[in-house]
Each structure stands twice: as C-alpha cells, then as structure tokens.
C-alpha cells in the first residue's frame, strides 16, 4: 500500500528530522538550516501500521500545482513533515537559446518564460540590452511600456487570484477575474497582435505606435475594472472560510524572505517595503505617484491583500501614465544589427512575481555571450518548504498558489 515514490536520486544522507509539533494555525518556529528540502525517502522496512508517515507525490500532473511542478510530500497523516520540489519538467534551455540567437531574436523567447506576464519579461530584457548598449528609450516609449507593464501586472494578479481562489475551493472568482483579464488581453491584442506572448517591446523602444483610441480604451478599462476589484474583495476578503484558510497559513518572516531571496508581493506581505519601481526606478516609474502596499504577518491572507492593493496601485499608475503620455518618437536610434560592446550588465525590474533580472554578458558579437535570467518564481519557490512545514496538505495547495509561480519561469 505504501508506494515509495521513485524520487530522482536521493542520497541517503541523514538530516535531522524536523519535529514540528505545532498545530497548523500556529506560526512554527523555524530553523532555516533545514530549509533545504531533503526527505529521507528510502525507508527500508515498512512498519506494520504505517499511518505515521506517508509519502505522496503531488504532480507533475496535478490540478493545483500550476503547471508541472512536482512536490513530494512527506506526511504524518495529513500533516506535512517536509517537501521536496522536483522541477525542470518545462525546461527548454532558454539561456542556451539566448546564446545562439541575436539580441533581437532572443526577445520573443523571454515572453515564454513567465507567460502570464510576458510584457514584464520583455521590458526587463529590452531595458537590460538598452543599458548594455547605453541607449535610452524615448519618453513616449517608456510611458507605453509602463502602461502595458502595469496592465500586465493586473492581468497576472487577476490570474493569480482566480487560480488561487480555485485552489482554496472558491470556484467563482476564477471566472470573474478571467472576464476582466480578457479586457486587458484585448488591449494587448489590439496593440501588438498577441494576447499572451506579446513581444510588445523592441530594444530601444516600442515597435508599434499606439492604435487609435488606445488611451480611451485604457481609460475605459480603468473605469470598468475598479469596481470589479471591489467585487473580488466582496467575495473573499471578509469571507469566514477564506479567512480561516488563509490567515496564519504559510507564514514567512521578512528576515526569512531576505535570506531566501524572496521578492515581490511575498516579501512585501511580510512587512518589508521594497519595490524595485521605487527603490531603483526604471522605465518611467520615477514620474508616477503610487504606494507600495505592505502586509504585516507574512501569511497567505496578507499576500492576498497586498496583491489586491497592488492592483489598485497599478490602476493609479496607469491612470497617471495614460493622462500624461508625451508625444514623440517611440524608438531610440538603435542600429539594425545590435552589437553591444564587450561587457556585462545586470538589470532587474519588478515583475508581478518579484525581481526579474537579466544578466547579459557581451563579447562584442551580435549574439549575447551569456544571458542569465534571474527568475523570481524559481527563487520564491524555494521558500515553499519553509512555509508549509507543519501545515496540512490543503495548505500546501494554498501556499503554492500564494507564492504565485509560473512553471515556465521556474524551469525556463
């Protein structure tokens, strides 16, 4: 009856087993030295009553692992003793591809990493190459970039909210968020012809001028979506079951976040007010007035609230940007063949999921010598083990949802 999961090569190194005795809703006192996920999966002798430890394989085909994440759970009844993430099922070697494409050719590939926020990926990559070339996009292009990136942040958060709520068992928000995300995708489609993998930007600016009525449509969307966010909140924010399922679940402190390199809403929800748009402004973000919402407890509920607040802040930014969008060219003077000088650059932006960085090494040729992507989902996912130890199986689902991972980005 007990199946030993064929795990991918677990050495039989013995690590001290976490003895988590807390009840699930208490904040466990965690020791970071065990955060590396190592499960002792090879139990030689099955005990007669093996109710105590159950090893269960969640994914890669599982409805709530947001793609092809595989989590091996070691359970005591339903209590999680430890987890091990097995990733790489969607590995496409994006970084290797980057070394074999020209700078411009690689641009659409980055859209395929975090495919629910393709615009942000493109923005990060284009700005990194621009930095390497030492050119700067024109102001109008920057404004367009901000508008689209913030729309994309909304879309990403809406998708997160829908799937997260679905994971916790609330079916209905999914359809509400998808209805509203559709409006964003329509704007993307009208702007660049694609809905998901947009490839909206070019190195040096934007390829396309905004279409006629772009500003009006964006403004209409802002008016349309503001009450919809209240609608989501109405369904969930004060819902008793939602509160019970999310409060004090998957707690992570700010110090743990920093140590684990966790960024984005997860970091902010644990109380650290840090947003790259404020800390190291890129594009045109320094010109807008917006808040960085933070939480207090670092639990799933705070992360939910932070993301909801971020949606509202995105609306503020878009409103300012669309009202103040300057006239002018949308493309800087960039050579047809992009051939940066020898050197290396790191540039990062605040993607919806956290800090998305591009480290590009140029050898002076038309292809990057090395493109390193610093994926927020990948790094944030590392905190899963810390966040779920001592919780229940149902909480693992909630925490996977609340970290907001996209496996395309985790595996690249």
């Amino acid at each position: 009856m007990t199946m030993t999961v064929p795990a991918q090569g677990h050495s039989a190194k013995d690590r001290p087993k976490d003895e988590m005795k807390e009840t699930p809703n208490e904040v466990p006192n965690r020791d970071l030295s065990h955060s590396d996920s190592h499960l002792d999966l090879d139990t030689p002798e099955k005990p007669y009553l093996d109710a105590n430890e159950l090893i269960i394989n969640m994914g890669p085909q599982h409805p709530a692992t947001h793609g092809v994440l595989r989590v091996i759970l070691k359970l005591d009844g339903e209590k999680v003793l430890g987890t091990e993430c097995v990733i790489g099922y969607l590995h496409r070697g994006v970084e290797k591809i980057g070394e074999n494409r020209t700078y411009a050719m690689f641009n659409p590939y980055v859209d395929r990493m975090d495919y629910v926020s393709a615009v942000s990926n493109g923005l990060g990559y284009c700005e990194a190459v621009e930095k390497l070339l030492d050119v700067e996009a024109p102001a109008r292009a920057k404004y367009i970039r901000v508008i689209l990136a913030e729309l994309n942040r909304m879309a990403s958060h809406q998708l997160w909210l829908g799937t997260h709520a679905l994971d916790i068992g609330a079916m209905t928000p999914l359809f509400y968020t998808f209805r509203d995300r559709e409006e964003i995708l329509k704007i993307f489609e009208k702007y660049c012809g694609a809905r998901l993998t947009t490839h909206a930007f070019r190195i040096g600016g934007c390829q396309y001028e905004t279409y006629a009525g772009f500003e009006k449509e964006v403004k209409n969307f802002l008016k349309f979506v503001a009450p919809k966010i209240d609608e989501y909140e109405e369904l969930l924010t004060t819902n008793r079951i939602w509160l019970q399922r999310t409060k004090n679940v998957g707690v992570i402190s700010a110090a743990d976040c920093v140590a684990l390199g966790v960024t984005g809403p997860v970091l902010r929800a644990s109380g650290k007010k840090w947003d790259l748009r404020k800390a190291q402004p890129y594009a045109a973000y320094s010109e807008f007035d917006f808040e960085v919402p933070t939480g207090e407890n670092g639990d799933t509920y705070d992360r939910y609230l932070v993301r909801m607040a971020e949606m509202r802040q995105s609306l503020r930014i878009i409103e300012q940007a669309v009202n103040g969008i300057p006239e002018g060219p949308i493309m800087a003077k960039v050579p047809k063949v992009i051939k940066p000088p020898v050197g290396e650059i790191y540039h990062s932006i605040e993607a919806p999921k956290g800090e998305l960085g591009f480290f590009i090494v140029s050898d002076g040729s038309i292809q990057p010598y090395r493109v390193r992507v610093r994926p927020p989902s990948f790094v944030n996912l590392q905190a899963l083990d810390l966040m779920v130890r001592g919780l229940l199986v149902a909480d693992v689902i909630a925490v996977i949802g609340t970290i907001d991972i996209v496996l395309g980005e985790v595996d690249r």
């Binding site: 409805p63 709530a64 339903e78 068992g169 079916m171 399922r245």
Partner: protein
Amino acid sequence: MPNFITSYFGSTLTPGAAGNQFWALVYVFVIFTGVSVAVMAMNWLERKALAHFQIRLGPMRVGPHGLLQPIADAIKLALKEDIIPSEADQFIFWVAPLIGLLAAFTVYTVIPFGPSEAVSDMNIGILFMLGVSSIGVLGIVVAGWASNSHYPLIGALRSSAQMVSYEVAMGLAVVSAVLMTSMNEKGTGTLSMIGIVQAQQQQGIWFIFKFFPLGFIAFAIFAIAMIAETNRAPFDMAEAESELTAGYHTEYSGLRWSLFMLAEYAAMIAVSSIAITVWLGGWMRPFPNLLRAPAWGFIFSLFPGLTFAGLAAIAVIGTIRMPSHSFFKVQRMGLAGFAAVLGLIAFLLLVLAVAGRSPDASVAARFNAGIGYVYWFVLKIAVFMYLFIWYRATWPRYRFDQLMRVGWKVLLPISLGVLILTAIAGVVVS
C-alpha cells in the same frame, strides 16, 4: 381489475402499511425512476445555475439550452471504457459504487411524499433514514481503499472521519425535533417520518418555528451537517479536486464513476427530504392551519398546474427568442415540443385541480390531493438543491482540521444545548 390493484384505492395508508405489495412495487418503481430523472435534472440545473453564477452559459449545445446534455453525458459515461486499475482490489473496486448507490436509494422507501405517498411507513423511519444513509459512506471508504492509490485513500479517510463527526451533531439535531413531536396530549412522540409531519400538522406549526429559536438552530445544525454528510462544497473534502485531484473516485471512470455521482445526488435529495420532513412540514402546503377555507385549498391546488404553465411559458419564450437560422431548426422544434409537453401537463393538472374541487369526485380529489402533496414536497427539495448549488458557487473549501473543529467544537455542543433546552421547554410548556 384484480382486487389487489383496486383494493388500495381510497386507502389512507401507505402501500407498505396497507400490505399491498403490488402498489408498493409500483411506488418503488416510480420513486426509482423519479429520483434518477431528478438526478439528471439536477445535473443540468447545477451546471446551468453554476454557470450563471459564474457569468458563463453552461451547456448550450446538446438540445435547446443544453437540456439533453445529461442524457448525452449518461450515454457517454455508460459507453466509456470501464477501467479497473491492475493494482486495485478488483472485487471491492467493483462493488463499492453499488454500496453507495444502494444506500442512497434504499432510504427513499420511507420518505413521505405525502401522508400515503410513500412506499412504507416505519415506526423507526427517521432512524432508518439516518442509519442507512450512514452506510453510504462505506461505499466511499472502500472505494478509496480499493483504488490502491494515495489520493483516493486520503479522500476515503477524510470522508469517513467527516461522516462520523457530523453524524453525531446531525442525529442530536434530529432528536430535538423528535422531542417536539411528543408535545401532544398523550405525550407520545414518534420516529415515523409520516408521524413527524402529522405531529407538525396537529400542532399547527413547522418545527423550524417551534420554540423559536430552538427549532431553527436545530434545523441550521442539520442543514450544515447534511452538506458535510453529502460531501458537498464547502465540505467537499473527500473529493477536493485541487488537493486530491478527485479524491475517492480518482481511479474511477465511466459507468462506475457515474454511479458515484448518482449516489451523491440521490443522497443530497434524501438528506434534504429529512430536513423538509422534520422541520419544514414535509408535504404540507404553506399555512394549512391559517388559510383553512376550501377556497384556499383550491387556490393552492392550482399551483402545480401554474408552475408547469410557467415553465411552458419560459420554453415558449425561449423558442421565440431562438435565432431564426436554419441551424437552429431542430433545436427550435425540440424546444417547441418541450413547451408543448409542459403545456399539456399544465393543462391536465389544472383540469384535475378543477375536477378535484368538488368533494364528491373522490378519486379525482384524492389524486389531486396527492399531486399537491408531492408538488409541495418536491418544491421544497428544489429549494434545497438550489441552496446546494449556491453554496458551491460561493464558498471556498474548508480545511480538514477546521471542518473537524466545526463539527466537534461548534455543532456538537450547540446541538446538545438545543436538545436540553428543547426538553426543558417541552416540560415547561406542557
């Protein structure tokens, strides 16, 4: 006509009580068919209602407004390959859905759709219902075990623990209502389903309003526990699709899987009928004690016909609003036909209501009364079914430990308290 057929006419007993096996079999057959059809209708209704909660259309392709979708689904499921995992326990895997189904359908023998519109009246009816419906979970548990897979096993464990915990609160809530039945001159209560409704009739009050708010609290406890008992959202721990893929029926497919669904929906209707029988006056029409005049009886007896007329009108409007494209020709005809059938039923019911008005026409009157009982009972069930769908569309899922906490630490003490207070109130009043 043979005596065993005609002798039952005019009897005020259930066929079981009258000892008429022929009519008992007829009733069994009618209930079996009726429940199966109701489950199909419920399936369609759930998909449609859920879809409209979620700004979708739901099934629209098979038949007008997807009306034939459940039939298409049933055919598809029946024809699907029946997969039994090689590592599964073959026999138990095979028998598990049947256990659940048998338990779910067996309880219908004592559900009183009317004072004589039940297969049988047992003096332990309510205990029988609770007991047999608790057997249904055995099917779920052994199904989860027999699948020999982890997710079904966890689903089965959850299901059994959940069922044991909620049955206690459920039973205590029912007991407090049973106490209320003893509030008569003789001081004798009853466990019979029909007796409980008749007690409400005699006391002139639905038990939900009796000793307000005690009856209401007991009802609320039962209403919560029955959702847990039937594994529905927000207590659908056993088949939580985001956690356990599909819970106990992960490994099931085809007909066997559909038997689980059939059992689940049949059980939903069954527990709703317990709630209706015990607290909501069973087959009684609204205000039978206040609106006593025969005219009121006539007005209420028009309701079934009017309901069907309303449904027919909706179908007619749907036919008219259908796009006048040749693609929709068949659908149009189908919906028009559906409207015609509904209209015919409405007409017959209205004629019967008028014919049964005069007390002389005893067979028609009796028939008319029977239709009225069944109508009100089914209407109340429909409200409950809608609530089930509504809950599912609105609430997130409880976590397992929270569910147990609610069961043991909230519902159980409250139901005990209600039981004691009801007893005290009963003594004080009498």
